[in-house]
């Protein structure tokens, strides 16, 4: 099981909003930062982060641990993450169930894994190593995917549940990613959520997606879609009101608009938990 910090509803700290965040003190509970963008010890990003951290809890979300890659774990990246974490004292550290490099070259993408025992054993070893190095549990997030591998022997939710059981890591459930992948691979999104063990989920992500031909793409460039709000309500009913992040990265609107989306998430979570009580 994992400890879930009761920090509420957050938004991403994005460069375009730095000045607004510091000047307007927006009504959000916490900020998420992409760890990779704050690893240089000096410079403007780290200065803004320090100022934000004085006022809000911060969670660190990474995109480059490459937990499922066959390439060796990047120990320098892990050292930089550890140093950042010691300075920021984040409420949560997370990365993705994916791989992103091969032969030392980076794709800068969250590439999907086959759901096989080999991949599970490999990823488990690396999650254990990361947690050992950081001396804390991490959350591992489900990614959106556009391909499914013919050799997979289990569904994604089973893979995630097994990973959590083997490594004692937590799970970051990206509700939009579940929705996108469910569409792309024709599985039932609610059944997926219902198969994830309660007590392992430490954070939700919500984001907008777009349609590209027959597939949905996880583009983070729209408001959260209505169907994803419904799925979020289902997730809150099952897992409780765990910390929830609104992710908005492209076609970024005003800070106020992102805050509004976060307040909607808070309202949805409050309504669901009130009914449940």
């Amino acid at each position: 099981m994992i400890e879930v910090p009761a920090i509420g509803h957050g938004i991403g700290l994005r460069t375009e909003h730095y000045a607004d965040v510091l000047a307007t003190n927006p009504p959000v509970d916490w900020f998420e930062v992409i760890s990779d963008n704050f690893m240089e010890p000096g410079g403007n990003p780290r200065r803004v982060l320090r100022a934000v951290r004085e006022r809000w809890p911060v969670v660190l979300h990474g995109v480059s641990l490459s937990l499922g890659a066959v390439d060796p774990l990047n120990e320098r990246y892990l050292d930089a993450l550890d140093a950042l974490a010691r300075e920021v004292e984040p409420a949560i550290i997370s990365d993705h169930l994916c791989w992103g490099s091969h032969g030392g070259a980076y794709a800068h993408d969250l590439l999907p894994l086959p759901f096989t025992e080999e991949a599970l054993a490999h990823t488990s070893t690396r999650v254990l190593r990361v947690q050992d190095r950081l001396k804390r549990q991490i959350l591992v997030e489900n990614v959106s995917s556009y391909v499914a591998f013919t050799q997979s022997t289990m569904p994604e939710h089973e893979f995630l549940a097994a990973l959590a059981a083997r490594t004692d890591c937590g799970l970051l459930l990206d509700v939009n990613n579940v929705f996108v992948s469910a569409h792309n691979h024709a599985f039932d999104a609610r059944a997926y959520l219902d198969a994830i063990p309660v007590g392992r989920v430490g954070q939700f992500h919500l984001a907008g997606h777009s349609q590209a031909g027959a597939l949905l793409l996880d583009t983070h460039d729209h408001p959260v879609r209505d169907e994803v709000w419904d799925l979020y309500a289902h997730a809150v009913a099952r897992f409780g009101a765990v910390p929830t992040l609104i992710e908005w990265d492209d076609k970024l609107p005003s800070l106020a608009r992102v805050v509004e989306e976060s307040q909607r998430a808070k309202k949805v979570a409050r309504e669901v938990t009130r009914v449940a009580r």
Binding site: G43, F149, L215
Partner: protein, 276 residues
């Protein structure tokens, strides 16, 4: 669910990565590599909505366009000079020669200036323009430091002046420039027409790039100041600076006067860091 056999995880990642990061879309990449569509269908399940190749192509497109976007942001002037189509082709070739070797996208364009310099034979100054753009990106991210002020300097006793440490702010760099590209940079910044340089710059020409607050500045420096700046960027003292300048002028007084003149410029630029 399907079968447990098939390629190892390492083999699957190799095949996936090669097809996704190739210079062409996945279908053409398969042809180039002498592979059939079966090589993809073997590992990826397609369906009536999208074939295995089409699905893998989503990743190939995201790979290229994500990096292209970063390069366009890092090199807006180079992009403006060569145009969208040529920049697209340049990025394609660049990624084949220099795949990203750092987990952060921030460094993906680091080798583009050198790459451009080796290709742009008709416009040999493009490499220098790209080098200036990259230095500006790099300096923007460097650490902050409080600048040394005239007032702080005034408190130093005259007898301590020779040993006075001169330390640059971390957000500073000196880029050798074989071409005068500051004019072109400025014209592009202001949206004006420009005349491409026709002859290389004078020997020793360089560009100083540094950050004040959140704004990156640059200026051209002539060879005398360049030598002084090289000393400064390696960390020096006022006495060592005077001694080095003494090799170029007739008297110690003249060397000291020149050192004071440079010091004045650097203080005004906020190029010097205050002692910690």
């Amino acid at each position: 669910m399907s079968r447990a056999d098939g390629p190892t995880l390492a083999e699957l990642q190799r095949r996936f990565f090669e097809l996704v990061t190739g210079p062409e879309d996945v279908a053409k990449e398969l042809v180039t590599r002498g592979l059939s569509e079966g090589a993809v269908a073997d590992i990826i399940a397609g369906d009536a909505r999208a074939s295995a190749v089409e699905r893998l192509d989503v990743y190939a497109n995201m790979y290229f366009f994500r990096i292209l976007d970063v390069l366009r942001e890092d090199y807006p002037k180079l992009l403006a000079v060569v145009g969208d189509d040529a920049f697209h082709d340049l990025a394609t070739d660049y990624l084949q020669a220099h795949p990203s070797r750092h987990p952060s996208l921030r460094f993906v364009g680091a080798a583009l200036p050198t790459f451009v310099a080796t290709r742009a034979r008709e416009r040999p100054w493009l490499g220098a323009l790209a080098a200036l753009e990259w230095a500006r990106v790099d300096v923007f991210d460097r650490a902050d430091a409080a600048p040394l002020t005239r007032d702080a300097l005034a408190t130093a006793a005259p007898e301590d002046f020779a040993a006075l440490p001169l330390v640059p702010v971390p957000a500073s760099a000196l880029v050798p420039a074989t071409w005068n590209i500051e004019e072109i940079w400025r014209a592009l910044e202001d949206g004006r027409a420009y005349d491409p340089p026709t002859a290389p710059a004078a020997p020793g020409h360089a560009i100083l790039i540094w950050r004040r607050g959140v704004t990156v500045h640059h200026r051209a420096v002539a060879s005398a100041e360049r030598r002084a700046l090289e000393l400064l960027l390696g960390h020096t003292t006022f006495g060592a600076l005077c001694a080095a300048l003494g090799d170029e002028v007739d008297s110690e007084e003249e060397a000291a006067a020149r050192a004071v003149e440079f010091l004045g410029h650097w203080l005004a630029d906020e190029l010097l860091a205050a002692p910690e």
